[in-house]
Structure formats: structure tokens, C-alpha cells
């Protein structure tokens, strides 16, 4: 763990001595809770429809597949007409596209970003690397199975999948959401310990709280 994250006693400019514990002071430690559908079936259905038609993707390209998302914004593919938008902050987005290979270093950032997103949230694994490692199956620093670390709703196979494949994958995700089966956030909360154990088994320098909100 980095020195600046350790618990220590510091002297303030006015001479007081205070104890600071950055991991506790900067973050909230309460774990995630399962949030079941709260309303009657018909309203949940409406909400699920709205969720499916308004997919906000977190603009976080984790690997080479990020390049496949750029054409989706352009006139040729124009994903906006399907209600798909890109948001630059995890707070506002509800779809995380893991675009390609995920190194352990990136996985750490991915977990932090994922946990900052507000539920219900969805994860799409893009490319073979997220499914079984793809061409990085023997690499020393990329994970092989994304669903060990995050709950994944849809996988899009290919190396790389074309933008059309992405659009098809998003349509598939919409069907899952409309059917009310995209409960990844709840799955994550319910199996929180299992996910954390998996994450910590590959991230050796765990210098953040167990849950970043």
C-alpha cells in the first residue's frame, strides 16, 4: 500500500496532532445492498422499458476494443438513435462496456468505476478476451474470465467484434433488461464476498476500501 494511504498521525499547521486514516476518511465503507424491484409489476415494466431505451455508457475504454465504440457515434452507425449515449462520469452511466482485454491494473480501476455507478447497472463484455482470455490466454497480467470479478449481462464474441456486433449486443441487452432479468447490481450485492475474494486474489496491492460506494 502506498505510504500516503496509511493510517498515521499528522501535525496540523496550528499545532494540533490528529490521526488520519485516508481509506476511512475519504470513502464510505458501507457495502452494497440488494435493491429488489420496489414497485408494482406494471410500473416496473415501464421502468425497465425506460432503462432499456436509455443506455448510458461509461466512457472508459479498458482495452483495444474501445476503438470499436468510436464509430458507433459517427454517422455510419449512429448509436444515438437507439437511445445509447456516452457519459464521462460513472455516476451518470448505467452501462459499463468492458472493451477487450483487462489487465490487473485496469481491473482495479474498473472495479472502482463499477462500484460508483448507480443501480440498476449493466456490464457488457466486449471481445474474446473478456470471455476466456482470447489471445491473452497465457498473459501474465490479464484476467481470463470477466464474470469472476463483475456480473456480466451480455458477452459479445469476436476479436475484435465489429460495431454492428456491438449494436446487436446492445439490442440483446435491451431484451434482457425489458424481461427484468438484468439484475447484475443485485447479483453483485448478494455475492459480494465471492466477488471480493476473486478480485483480491489477483489484485495484490489492494489499497482501497472494499466498497467504493
Amino acid at each position: 500500500m502506498k505510504e500516503e494511504l496509511l493510517k498515521r498521525i499528522v501535525k496540523t499547521p496550528d499545532g494540533q496532532e490528529i490521526e488520519i486514516d485516508p481509506l476511512r476518511d475519504y470513502y464510505c465503507e458501507a457495502g452494497p445492498t440488494v435493491q429488489p424491484p420496489a414497485y408494482t409489476a406494471i410500473i416496473e415494466k415501464l421502468f425497465n422499458w425506460a432503462r432499456s431505451e436509455s443506455l448510458w455508457i461509461l466512457g472508459f475504454g479498458t482495452g483495444c476494443g474501445a476503438i470499436e465504440m468510436r464509430p458507433l457515434m459517427t454517422p455510419r452507425f449512429d448509436a444515438y438513435r437507439y437511445g445509447i449515449q456516452w457519459r464521462p462520469t460513472p455516476r451518470q452511466s448505467n452501462l459499463f462496456v468492458i472493451s477487450g482485454y483487462l489487465s490487473v491494473k485496469t481491473l482495479k480501476r474498473v472495479i472502482r468505476s463499477y462500484e460508483q455507478m448507480q443501480g440498476p447497472k449493466y456490464v457488457v463484455g466486449l471481445g474474446s478476451c473478456t470471455i476466456n482470455g482470447g489471445m491473452y490466454w497465457d498473459s501474465y497480467n490479464t484476467i481470463k474470465r470477466l464474470d469472476d470479478y463483475l456480473p456480466v449481462d451480455v458477452y459479445i464474441a469476436g476479436c475484435m467484434p465489429r460495431p454492428e456486433a456491438l449494436l446487436a449486443g446492445f439490442e440483446e441487452l435491451k431484451k434482457i433488461i425489458r424481461a427484468g432479468k438484468a439484475e447484475g447490481a443485485n447479483q453483485y450485492a448478494a455475492n459480494f464476498d465471492w466477488y471480493k475474494a476473486n478480485q483480491k486474489s489477483v489484485i495484490h496491492d489492494w489499497d482501497m476500501p472494499d466498497y467504493n460506494w
Binding site: C28, Q35, A38, A50, S54, G59, T89, Q92, P120
Partner: protein, 296 residues
């Protein structure tokens, strides 16, 4: 009896604003040869955001930020008559409503500053710093133009200003005081959050600026305001400079056309940095405003 009618105005304007901003976004997309979002996308996005199951807060001001922002838009709309000559849609206009409108234009941004500061995210703080400095520079010519108009008509009541412009297009302030209108329209470009003056909120810039930390219903409230506020602001412009509106169809048409001014400029010109836009306002718009005040 005024309150239900005012609420009806609010309802009409919010829906109109949601559709119109989507339409303008579609027009912008067509310029880029895209299809653009569906016209009802704003409704879906809002519904989705209200339907999110989790949200986190950073404190009281974090809650109040969007509330202030929305009340800025609502207040601006409700204290200015939306339809001239209509008892029903005069809202809460009174003798000095022009000054109140000027205040409400700025109110939302200030509320946003408090909320964004509470969120503690550095990007919010940077965003709001840029936003406030740009807003201040942009509002200056508008305030000057409003003074010029108030001097010209010798009144601070929006209703009377509209009344003075009736009787033909040539009676509009646009033709009786073109300098003031030019200054105000430049300021208008700056406050519509469209290019070239959208560096504060643009998603590609320092991530999305002030609302970085806002999500779920907080964000939905701000989206409501994003639909409402431009229309409310245009209503002020329409009343002051373009002869007001005598009926809802006229209202819709005029608001759309005035909005399109900023949309046109937006699709043609690239984005200014903050210091560039401030310089632009101070060099081009403020002298025009001063000239308008002097010449009245």
C-alpha cells in the same frame, strides 16, 4: 385563480422544452449526417433517471443544488408573462418583474455552484469556476441591454414593454433599438450552453463539469431544468425584444426560432475556451450594450 394557470404554463413549457431540445439535437445531428436521438428520448432519459434504485448524497447542499437550479428556471418562467394579453397566462408578472427576471437568470447557476462544491469532486469545482466566470461575462451585455430597454420604454414591467411593442413588426425592440438586441443576442449565445460557449458542460471537456457527481433523480431534476430554463429565458427575450407572443402557436414558433439562432451558431462554430469566450463577450458584446444604453 392564478396558481392553476401558472402550473398549466409550467406543464406546457416543460413538455415543449423537452420536445424542442430533442428536436434541436436532431437538427444538429442531421447537420452531422446522423439520425440523431428519437424525439421522445428526453422523456425516457428522465424516467430512467427517476427510476434508478440507488443514489448517494454528499450533504444538504448537494440536495439543494438541483432544487435551486430548477427553482431558477421555474421562477424565471412564472414571474414573466408568457402570453401577452392573456389573463390566464400572465403568470405572476407585476410592475417590477424585469429586475426579478434578471435575478432568476443567475440564480440557478449560483445554486448549482453550492451543490457542486458540496459534491467534493475536483471536476465539479473546476467546472463551476469556469461556468460562473463565463456566465458573468455573458450576462453583462444582457444586463446592459435590459437597462437600455427599460430606459427606452421608461418602465420595469415586462407587460408594459410588450404592450409598447404591439402594432406591427417594426415596433419591436429589434427595430427600435437594434444595438441593445444585438448585445443581448450575443449574451444569449453564451447562456444557452451550446457551442461555441459550451465548454462548461460539454461531456468531452473536463468530464461534464459541474454535474459530475450528480446522478439519478438529482440529475433528472437538472434535466428538467435543462428543458425548462432555455425556454423561460427565451420568453424573456421574446417579450423584451421580439414583441412577445399573443397566442400559444405564436409562442412556440417564436421560441423555436430564437432557440435556432444559438443552434445555428452552435453547429457552425467550434468551441471556445473560457478565457476566449470571456474576451469575446468583453470585446464585442459589452461595448454594444454600453452604446445601446448611451444612445437611448
Amino acid at each position: 385563480m392564478r396558481i392553476p394557470w401558472a402550473l398549466l404554463t409550467l406543464f406546457i413549457v416543460i413538455n415543449y422544452g423537452l420536445l424542442m431540445t430533442a428536436l434541436v439535437q436532431k437538427i444538429g445531428a442531421r447537420v452531422g449526417r446522423r439520425h440523431g436521438i428519437p424525439i421522445w428520448q428526453n422523456y425516457i432519459d428522465m424516467l430512467k433517471n427517476y427510476a434508478l434504485r440507488t443514489s448517494i448524497t454528499h450533504g444538504v447542499m448537494f440536495y439543494l443544488g438541483p432544487v435551486f437550479r430548477l427553482s431558477g428556471g421555474v421562477g424565471l418562467l412564472l414571474f414573466v408573462p408568457s402570453i401577452y394579453g392573456s389573463e390566464m397566462f400572465a403568470n405572476f408578472s407585476f410592475a417590477g418583474d424585469l429586475i426579478l427576471a434578471l435575478y432568476f437568470v443567475f440564480f440557478g447557476t449560483l445554486g448549482m455552484a453550492l451543490g457542486a462544491a458540496e459534491s467534493g469532486h475536483p471536476y465539479s469545482a473546476i467546472g463551476i469556476t469556469r461556468g460562473l466566470s463565463q456566465m458573468t461575462a455573458a450576462e453583462l451585455p444582457f444586463a446592459l441591454a435590459v437597462f437600455a430597454v427599460a430606459l427606452q420604454y421608461q418602465t420595469l414591467s415586462v407587460t408594459e414593454i410588450v404592450a409598447a411593442q404591439q402594432g406591427g413588426v417594426l415596433h419591436w425592440t429589434l427595430f427600435t433599438n437594434p444595438l441593445a438586441v444585438a448585445a443581448a443576442m450575443m449574451s444569449f449565445l453564451g447562456s444557452m450552453m451550446r457551442p461555441p460557449f459550451d465548454v462548461v458542460l460539454a461531456p468531452q471537456e473536463i468530464p461534464i463539469g459541474p454535474p459530475t457527481e450528480y446522478h439519478s433523480s438529482f440529475l433528472a431534476m437538472m434535466q428538467t431544468n435543462r428543458a425548462l430554463f432555455p425556454v423561460a429565458k427565451i420568453v424573456v427575450y421574446m417579450n423584451l425584444f421580439f414583441g412577445g407572443a399573443g397566442s400559444w402557436p405564436e409562442f412556440f414558433l417564436k421560441v423555436f426560432l430564437i432557440y435556432m439562432v444559438s443552434a445555428f451558431v452552435g453547429v457552425v462554430f467550434p468551441r471556445f475556451r473560457v478565457e476566449q469566450s470571456i474576451r469575446w463577450f468583453l470585446i464585442w458584446a459589452v461595448p454594444l450594450g454600453i452604446l445601446a444604453v448611451v444612445l437611448v
